[in-house]
Symmetry: C2
Subunit: 272 residues, 2 copies
């Protein structure tokens, strides 16, 4: 199935929450230490508990790579637990010159067979082209991120009056010949989201920053639904998977996801 | 030894060429196929042939990660062949939110014990802080890259008239409290290099793009020496390690490095 179809199917079913599997080996429920591989057991259980109502799973590559060879094995095994119809996102924010970018794309889209990836636009079009050539995937390119450092460059004004992140979004429209681009837009930037719906147009959105980073799910969904925006994912990582660090961690994750989905469905009904 | 000392020692000895170990398993001399691990044998032989006159070794992480678990083993083994007094650079162009960036920094600077890394500035200061907190390392942050896509954003003018890459360099000076920042400045941007020596000041430079990408070593070194710039590395990857794809690959790499060093030393003498 094309990645964009997976996203649209989830959204049509009222599922908009992407579960971020930023699994920190040092922050696992202590009872899992009796398992052969606590990280994999944690991920397996979280996926099992959330797969009915998750719109997507985002795997933050740093959390796996930083564990070296064992981490990559955990990444592969975790991916095997995710039902084929649910979108997977490799969150690595890659961007490099052409021949290097090709290797990253091959690793993410062929070796690991992710449905989509996050990318960094700083090096321009040719640095992303190897990813853009995979027509069945979704390339979520950083536009405006959720962290304080987004003020350093992304929110700086360009000569023509636009902000850098707006110029990035405009370029992404140019690069979107295969209709396989999306953008990353941080949930902490509520006003910018509201003001840029017409700039974003129909680009799918990946929205991190709800929860631990301070973004409001209520505000985000109200703006997006009132703007008739479809095709978006709101990522929540720690807010779901670390909701409880006790034996009830999976139940707590499931309940938190249900709570988030209830807020979303209320705003979706308000709009209809 | 502090990483900056390794760089300065190399430069003081007239060594400015960084050998890029972008080792492509599909482009190895065919006779190496009889070895148990051709990539590692290739890297070991290249390092052995060039270590007397290389200023540094840059390992492009994509070339290793894209081979999955075996690739990471190759990365570790390759690092073990590099003499401790020679600077090592992890070329991964990382940049992410704080807790993720910490993991990348830990992986590169602790697990693999690299001396330095390349970083992407798009997400701003807090995305790089975990790297900047390693005071004995060198953080080479992308300013102006060597690829055509550098025109998309890096060479766009900001409201005040400066170009984005100049604003990035200015910010890097602010972030350089630990004197552990450097910049990446592509060799294809000769005019920009000439015009920005006063903006770059004493930041160490990592200069890719000579050779396969079209930058001129002659021009680059003439500008840098005439500007009294010390502390820089000119990276050459394919131009050295793929100089010959025959049984004489190591000899050819050694000879090419000697040729490059001759050009540099001629320009160094012209200046003195």
């Amino acid at each position: 199935m094309q990645s964009i179809q997976k996203l649209k199917s989830a959204n049509s079913a009222g599922k908009f929450v992407c579960v971020g599997l930023d699994t920190d080996p040092l922050k696992l429920p202590s009872h899992l230490s009796s398992f052969n591989n606590p990280v994999v057991e944690f991920n397996r259980t979280i996926i099992e508990a959330t797969k009915e109502s998750a719109a997507a799973y985002k795997l933050n590559l740093a959390f796996y790579e930083s564990e070296g060879i064992d981490g990559l094995k955990n990444l592969e095994e975790t991916l095997s637990f995710i039902p084929k119809e649910i979108l997977t996102i490799a969150d690595g924010k890659r961007g490099d010159i052409g021949n290097t970018s090709s290797l990253y794309a091959k690793s993410i889209y062929e070796h690991f067979d992710f449905d989509s990836a996050t990318l960094n636009p700083y090096m321009g079009k040719d640095s992303l082209e190897p990813f853009l050539s995979y027509t069945s995937k979704i390339n979520f390119i950083l536009a405006l991120t959720s962290n304080p450092g987004s003020a350093d460059f992304q929110k700086q004004q360009m000569k023509g009056g636009k902000y850098l992140y707006q110029c990035v979004i405009e370029k992404i429209h140019d690069w979107n010949k295969n209709l396989n681009c999306g953008i990353v837009f941080g949930a902490t930037n509520i006003n910018e989201l509201k003001e840029n719906l017409a700039v974003i147009k129909d680009l799918p959105l990946l929205i991190p920053g709800v929860g631990a980073q301070g973004g409001s799910l209520e505000d985000i969904t109200r703006i997006l639904f009132s703007g008739n925006k479809s095709s978006f994912l709101i990522n929540v990582s720690r807010g779901i998977i670390q909701k409880s660090l006790g034996e009830d961690f999976a139940e707590a994750a499931k309940n938190e996801l249900a709570t988030l989905n209830k807020i979303i469905s209320r705003n979706l009904q308000l709009k209809n």
